[in-house]
Amino acid sequence: MAHMRKQIRDAVITACTGLTTTGTKVFNHRAYPLASNKLPGLCIYSQDETTAYQSITPPRSVLRTLNIVIELYVKAATGYDNTIDQIALEVETALTDDVTLGGLAKDTRIIGFNSEVSADGEQPACIGIMQVQITYSVAENDPETAI
């Protein structure tokens, strides 16, 4: 077993692996630049989390809100924005197919998206940044198990 945050992140990675456009080019917490042979690809990481205690007597139940970021990476001379939107379509469909992520979460919501482009390289590099909010509940003394 592992912390619920890792289990949820792994579930998101699993859901986003094998999509039509990005295939297996899905990376978790990557620190190094993506080379062309890893594009179009996804980088998925947990960004931050807030907690709200739901009961008074220990061990208390805790409702956690985890923000996961999915970054969509594309390099192309033309049509890169269309490719970003196609990847977003595939990711959103995959994530909302089961908003409980196999029973790990209470809910999964895509709460934001923005994109950036750079023309410093041999072809434009476009990145879509998708904000995903996932709520889950655990007992404070057992952060490995969803309740």
Binding site: Y32, Y45, Q123
Partner: protein, 101 residues
């Protein structure tokens, strides 16, 4: 005031330059000599990580590409590029920002 003379620019291009085929949208193609830089670097585009790719640039005499516009073609070592930005230094040389076709 220019730092170097036309003769020095020619000598520099003769020593370090490569031949490229300049094919403008309007007009006929010709061979121009210039210095080709194609470094492999990380490009930051706003994500947590960057994208590693080439950054092709071509430095040539401005007079060799007179009338050049964005969209003109340049072929170097049988690789086709499109000229995206033309940056003249005002002293006889221009840097071309290239996009890989």
């Amino acid at each position: 005031m220019t730092v170097e003379t036309a003769a020095e620019r020619n000598a520099m291009l003769a020593d370090f330059g490569v031949d490229a085929i300049f094919d403008p949208v309007s007009g006929s193609h010709k061979v121009v000599k210039g210095i080709f830089d194609n470094v492999y670097e990380e490009v930051e585009a706003g994500g947590r990580v960057g994208i590693a790719m080439q950054q092709p640039r071509f430095f040539c005499k401005t007079a060799d590409i007179t009338g050049s516009v964005e969209g003109d073609a340049l072929e170097i070592d049988s690789v086709a590029y499109t000229i995206k930005v033309i940056m003249s230094d005002g002293n006889g040389m221009s840097e071309l920002v290239l996009e890989l076709n």
